[in-house]
Amino acid sequence: MTTKMRKWAAIPGLGALAAAAVVLSAYSGASSDEGRDIEQPLPFPHPVHVKTLAMNCMYCHFAAGKSPDPGLPAVATCMGCHITVGPKKPDGSARPGVATLQEFWKKGQPIPWVRIHKVPDYVQFPHMRHVNAGVSCQTCHGQVQDMQRVTQVASLNMGWCVQCHLGESNPPFKARYDCSTCHY
């Protein structure tokens, strides 16, 4: 009887340990979505667009330099090229995803992309401040130009942010890091 009771009594202790782990992991990055493999409604190959066709990031993410929001390309932006660049290459091989894209356009529906990068609502990440300070997209988003399918590379947690604001990144940047810099 007493042993049984002791066994159960350990549960609140375990609960407290779990809570502590959650709090610590928020700083360590253990709870972030790094590396999560996510399937999008249609395969968008960044390498073809960025490397082969040499398109600038801000052709599609047009607001990154002038807004807190980087801007998600409208379906019309995709169709600017894909109205003529169809689902089949001249040699007959397939361009995967283009048919799905054109299908969305024909139906007049936006593409329901799955969000990959997100900081909590109590954190502000104004893209234009970072872009205009010369921080490259890859600093936070990784080598997107090499990703057939985009995944989250950096932890995007507070410790990671502060490290860069302290000037410990390569190349080094220095920015204010008091609370209200990001939590406002």
């Binding site: 709870s31 807004s67 807190p68 929001d69 992309w113």
Partner: protein, 492 residues
């Protein structure tokens, strides 16, 4: 219950504790499993076509006109990602100089009101049912045709909110084109007695009030700090007056209720309701009026009135306002106007030459009563009501609902379900002013333009556009309406 367990210390509390811990353990595990799971999928929905000249996350600002009351202050509307999110006064507008009252600030609550009509509604089987715009307009066109062929168009009634600008004249032209009488201009917020008295005394409905020119302000029930008259310009001017380091006016408030103006006054003279006229007459020294009688009628010490009378006579320039709501309101307002004229305040603190246009189109209570009488006699075949809710705002003794029931076909242009629209046969919901084109006349020399600050939330349609569509479909009126819509009509 518990008393039976308490003596058994070994099993009772132990069992409870065990159960508690089991539940706690299970809850913790469940919370951990659900809360820490990272499989939630958040979607990013892009535009299909990106609207021109907008940047996501960056606001666009539109200058437009507030239509929450007839005064029509200038607005700056902040719109982000296609949604208007904040209104402020337009600092460049001569009337409100960047200020905006609480009612103006709250205009967004109307824009995003969850109860708004999603589209037109037609009464079928004694219930308002959603219909398409084509069906709704066809129903109205048919009814218009019936009324005209029966030769009864001259008995139709159109009640529109009192407003300035191009719309009232546009509406009257449309009504005349269909053989109907001109519209009634209705405003539940306007001080109709003061407006009638002003028209009689000064020839304008609302002269500009210059508080800043006065040395003494006496308000007889006029709650100008809480929405009486041309709220924002008056309050701005009063604030300027009181901000003076030297020569700021003293404010005396005479009224039975200590209103916001009464609370802010230097002196509140509480009087019995309905005794205001006696006080004003005593102050003006009208024939047969004595201070003692007035003091007795008002329940105010005679010495107080004597002191006020001396102060009024000795202080120039001054300003007296009347805003009582008793049955003799117009008599009080006329007596106050006469006092101001005698004191030489007209042209100094009261400026008819710089009049506010807000109440210029306002119909008199007699005109409203005449229409109500015709409705009651069952002579009105067709009634339109726009931006007004007479069932709610008219006194119940007016029996507007009963009179409305005797009208054969009732059309409402209300954007929201209200007491009046719910009893109508056809609802053609108007755009919210923040979704509409328009204009307003603030004063004789100030014209305020109104533009949409965002796309309409629901399937609503500007009343002016509905009228143009109906006129175009009608052979006799079509030629008068070459413009495709009201915006083109305004631009000319």
């Amino acid at each position: 219950m518990s008393s039976s367990k308490e003596p058994n210390g070994a099993t009772g509390p132990g069992g409870t504790r065990r159960e508690f811990l089991k539940i706690l353990g299970a809850t913790t595990a469940t919370t951990a499993a659900i809360g820490c799971s990272s499989d939630r999928v958040e979607r990013l929905i892009p535009y299909l076509n990106h609207p021109d000249e907008t940047v996501p996350g960056v606001s666009t600002y539109y200058a437009t006109t507030c239509r929450e009351c007839a005064v029509a202050c200038g607005l700056i509307a902040e719109t982000r990602d296609g949604r208007t999110i904040k209104l402020e006064g337009n600092p460049a507008h001569p009337l409100n100089r960047g200020a905006l009252c609480a009612r103006g600030q709250a205009a967004l609550q109307g824009l995003y009101n969850p109860d708004r009509y999603r589209g037109p509604m037609l009464r079928r089987n004694n219930r308002l049912e959603p219909v398409t715009w084509d069906q709704a307009l066809q129903a109205l066109a048919q009814k218009l045709g019936e009324v005209r062929s029966a030769g009864r168009a001259g008995d139709a009634v159109f009640i529109n909110a009192s407003e300035t600008g191009s719309f009232p004249a546009f509406l009257d032209e449309w009504l005349t084109g269909f053989g109907m009488p001109t519209h009634l201009s209705y405003d539940a917020l306007a001080d109709i007695s003061a407006v009638a008295a002003n028209r009689q005394s000064y020839g304008v409905s609302w002269p500009a009030l210059r508080f800043s020119e006065a040395k003494l302000i006496v308000s007889v029930g006029a709650d100008f700090l809480d929405g009486w008259g041309a709220t924002v310009p008056q309050q701005l001017d009063f604030a300027d007056a009181r901000a003076k380091i030297e020569g700021a006016p003293r404010l005396v408030y005479i009224g039975s209720r200590r209103s916001l103006t009464g609370l802010n006054a230097d002196e509140w003279i509480p009087c019995k309701p309905g005794s205001e006229l006696a006080i004003v007459n005593a102050l003006s020294g009208a024939a047969g009026a004595s201070l003692d009688q007035a003091a007795q009628a008002a329940g105010v010490p005679a010495a107080t009135l004597q002191r006020l009378g001396r102060e009024w006579a000795a202080t120039k320039p001054s300003l007296m306002l009347a805003g009582v709501t008793t049955a003799n309101a117009m008599t009080v307002a006329l007596a106050v106007n006469a006092l101001n004229q005698a004191a030489g305040n007209v042209g100094v603190t009261i400026r008819p030459a710089e009049a506010i246009s807000a109440f210029d189109t306002l119909s008199s209570p007699a005109e409203i009563a005449e229409a109500l009488g015709r409705m009651n006699e069952g002579r009105v075949p067709l009634l339109f009501v726009r931006n007004a809710n007479p069932i709610f705002t008219l006194p119940k003794s007016g029996k507007f609902a009963e009179a409305l029931a005797k009208v054969a076909f009732k059309v409402s242009f209300s954007s929201y379900p209200d007491e009046t629209s719910e009893l109508c046969d056809l609802v053609l919901p108007d755009h919210h002013p923040l979704e509409s084109w328009g204009d307003a006349q603030a004063t004789a020399t100030v014209m305020s333009l109104q533009q949409p600050t965002m796309d309409p939330v629901f399937s609503t349609r500007a009343t002016a556009d509905v009228l143009i569509t109906l006129a175009k479909a009608n052979q006799t009126t079509a030629a008068q309406y070459p413009a495709p819509d009201y915006r083109s009509f305004l631009i000319g």
